[in-house]
């Protein structure tokens, strides 16, 4: 089985998803089912096959260096759950 419960907890932590112990076992089963299913890709010979980076056949578009945006702090914080004089606000972060 690709993942054990410790891995489930580690991945949930990386993804910033709270999981209570009750869910861990269920998640372990689900993830293993899915990961086992996708492992059929191991049958495919991908020797020397480049990974797809983009399905569009074109060059990266570039902008000119001009100030064309910004200047609406009000809109930026409009939907914020917590803001104070145009700052977003979060619990104290310790560096």
């Amino acid at each position: 089985m690709p993942v054990d419960r410790e891995t489930v907890r580690r991945i949930a932590r990386l993804a910033r998803l709270a999981v209570d112990e009750g869910q861990v076992a269920a998640m372990e089963t689900e993830l293993n089912a899915l990961l086992t299913w996708v492992q059929q890709l191991e049958e495919v010979n991908v020797e020397g096959v480049p990974p797809m980076t983009s399905v569009v056949e074109q060059r990266l578009k570039m902008r000119e260096d001009m100030v064309t945006d910004g200047g609406y702090a009000g809109d930026i914080i409009k939907n914020a759950p917590l803001a104070e004089n145009h700052f977003f606000v979060v619990p104290k972060v310790v560096e």
Partner: protein, 494 residues
């Protein structure tokens, strides 16, 4: 990784013997662009909170990045300035981690395929020694926003004005061996960026920041475990941080302990480094190519055009200055600050002889500026006035002693040195009649000294001094000397 051999001059003594410091650096240089790397918001420093933030920078749902051509150009130019390999195909990746000043939950950066590969920088030390420091890579990436922790006891405030600003991350090889080399590296890097105009190098405003990787080892031994020191944002702090950190590591090792690889924060208040809480958790950035962007590709011909248009860089300027007769060290000092080099070149254009101009700057002017806390650009003396002063000495119009006096005057009051010399009658006197009478007067007044000098001719210097005093320093010392020797019929010195 190839690591430069120990340079024994740099070893530091511990209780149990010699240690070698090994230093590598990651420099984050803000591209001198008007707008951000992937959005059209402004990059100016010190604006109102979140006023220079676009929907893209705030990672609103459905927002997409579009790259700034100018930023790509500056990265390539910088690569060329570092004599580095420019990659015609590079890839933008997402570096995933959660932090409140990183709105999207990922930073768009370049991981496996940076836009610029290996290059090098040469640094000049006070000893006259020149050291090569390898550049591993340069890549483009987004800056994060700003977290303000000091506004509220239990809240952090987030301003995204910096979020998305274009940075060039330049990574050096661990080729530095002392705090002096580290500072010299950063100074040289700053000079190159400023010559190229790709970054303003303003460390106070944070447009140039350095993370310093420090480890210690016994000379010649394998690399030790390194600690990354963040937030080292001045030349002075680099020296402090490296020295504190090296000493800390040596003490641990000599006490039989081992170094824990960690990210540490430099605290400029007490000149110490301490572990960063926020970096304690082991990171797994899950890099993968950003599907909102395509690979960054361009032609060699475009790179060649940029190369042709590249301005003269510090090393080339230094060489040119040396060909003009300057010592390697004088030349290095002058090119270190672009403004100083420009000032020097203007002095020469205004007619000053190169070596004399360099001496005046290094021995006379820089000292005054430092004392007054001024810079070459904020200093009171124009390059033209400086050039005239130096030329007046060279053409024997005034003596070196008077030159100092003259410099005092133009420092205080400005004005045209030639005009001042005339007005205050500072011209040095070379007309023999006047000097002969002065010499005769001194000889007549000091018969005893005359005997002395006849006994040991070296003492003639005393007479020269007296005559100079009598002429308020205006007499041409060579002429005085010649006349004295004739009057006291002393042998000419070889």
């Amino acid at each position: 990784m190839s690591v430069a051999p120990a340079r024994n001059t740099k070893l530091i003594e511990g209780a149990t013997g010699a240690w070698e410091i090994v230093i590598g650096m990651e420099v984050h240089a803000q591209v001198s662009s008007k707008s951000k790397l992937f959005s059209g918001a402004a990059t100016e420093f010190g604006a109102e909170p979140n006023s220079q933030v676009s929907l893209v920078d705030a990672a609103m749902p459905g927002m997409l990045p579009v790259i700034n051509r100018y930023c790509v150009e500056q990265a390539v130019k910088t690569g060329l300035g570092l004599k580095a390999k420019v990659n015609l195909h590079s890839v933008f990746d997402r570096k995933n981690y959660f932090y409140p000043d990183l709105p999207a939950g990922y930073q768009i950066s370049q991981y496996k395929q940076p836009v610029v590969g290996e290059g090098e920088i040469h640094i000049d030390l006070a000893s006259g020694e020149s050291v090569r420091v390898g550049i591993e890579r340069l890549h483009l990436e987004q800056d994060a926003g700003k977290s303000l922790h000091d506004q509220h006891p239990d809240l952090t405030y987030i301003d995204l004005n910096r979020a998305g600003v274009a940075l060039m991350e330049i990574v050096s090889r661990p080729d530095m061996r002392s705090s002096e080399e580290a500072a010299a590296f950063l100074r040289k890097m700053r000079a190159i960026l400023r010559y190229l105009g790709t970054c303003d190098g303003n460390m106070e405003a944070g447009s140039m920041r350095a993370d310093v990787n420090v480890s210690v080892r016994r000379p010649g031994a394998a690399l030790g475990t390194r600690c990354e020191i963040k937030n080292v944002n001045s030349m002075r702090f680099i020296v402090q941080a490296v020295e504190f950190e090296a000493r800390r590591q040596i003490d641990i090792l000599e006490a039989g302990g081992s170094i824990r690889q960690e990210t540490r924060l430099f605290d400029s208040k007490n000149g110490e480094t301490r572990p960063m809480r926020s970096k304690e958790e082991a990171h797994d950035y899950r890099y993968f190519p950003d599907p909102d962007l395509l690979p960054l590709t361009f032609e060699q011909t475009w790179v060649d055009e940029l190369a042709k248009a590249l301005p003269e860089l510090p090393d080339e300027k230094k060489l040119r200055f040396m060909q003009a007769g300057l010592s390697a060290y004088d030349a290095a000092v002058l090119v270190g600050e672009k403004e100083a080099a420009d000032y020097f070149e203007e002095m020469v254009r205004e007619g000053a002889e190169a070596k004399a101009a360099a001496n005046w700057l290094n021995n006379e002017y820089f000292g005054r500026l430092n004392k007054a806390g001024l810079t070459i650009s904020s200093g009171p003396i124009s390059a033209k006035a400086a050039s005239l002063t130096v030329s007046l000495v060279a053409s024997n119009v005034i003596s070196g002693k008077i030159a100092k006096e003259l410099t005092d005057i133009i420092w205080r009051e400005g004005g045209d040195p030639r005009e001042i010399v005339e007005r205050l009658g500072l011209r040095q006197v070379s007309d023999t009649a006047a000097i002969e009478s002065a010499v005769d007067a001194v000889i007549a007044a000091n018969p005893d000294k005359v005997e002395e000098v006849k006994a040991k001719p070296k003492a003639a210097a005393w007479f020269v001094g007296q005559v100079m005093k009598a002429t308020q320093g205006k007499a041409n010392p060579q002429v005085v000397n010649a006349i004295l020797r004739r009057r006291l019929n002393l042998p000419d010195e070889g």
